[in-house]
Amino acid sequence: EAGVTQFPSHSVIEKGQTVTLRCDPISGHDNLYWYRRVMGKEIKFLLHFVKESKQDESGMPNNRFLAERTGGTYSTLKVQPAELEDSGVYFCASSQELNYGYTFGSGTRLTVV
């Protein structure tokens, strides 16, 4: 089966600009997660979708981040406006069952300059 796909793999934007990251989960996986690792820190949870509904968005850092999953398929994570501290690697993961091994994508490396 195809894995979790993230696009783009790399993005370099200027401070103040907007960037949209996309995640295509494994087909049929209702659960979709966003995580990120900022420089020198550990991987941190951002939010969790069940189909198109946000189940838990407690990890979203602030209102500059907006995640959507229209139709319960792919998801987007928009950062607007981007700040320097948003630089890092953003991972998406999906799972069919809530409490078992998740499949992660390769991540999007975001650099804000």
Binding site: V4, Y33, Y35, E42, F45, N99, G101, F104, G105
Partner: protein, 112 residues
């Protein structure tokens, strides 16, 4: 979610067995233990999960003592391609374990 403690790094040689121990003294009754592997420029990859005693799959074995306050990931006969960061995570599988809490992990370097 229980906090975990792992060695920061480990070194091994090709063909050896590697055991990475994780401490989780505050593990709760409903908590499961899960290990992930991460290669550079990739996302974490699920390796194995267990609750107690021993679990084995085609990749690794997971040993969990009776008190469950620690666990050991065992990688048999490692190769250079096993060089990666290994994360131990503990969480409640029945209570909406919807977020993974990653620590710093253990950076394993396998040498020729």
């Amino acid at each position: 979610l229980a906090k975990t403690t792992q060695p920061i790094s480990m070194d091994s040689y090709e063909g050896q067995e590697v055991n990475i121990t994780c401490s989780h003294n505050n593990i709760a009754t409903n908590d499961y233990i899960t290990w992930y592997q991460q290669f550079p420029s990739q996302g974490p990859r699920f390796i194995i999960q267990g609750y107690k005693t021993k679990v084995t799959n085609e990749v690794a074995s997971l040993f969990i003592p009776a008190d469950r306050k620690s666990s050991t990931l065992s990688l048999p006969r490692v190769s250079l391609s096993d060089t990666a960061v290994y994360y131990c995570l503990v969480g409640d599988m029945g209570g909406g374990y919807n977020k993974l809490i990653f620590g710093a992990g253990t950076r394993l370097a396998v040498h020729p």
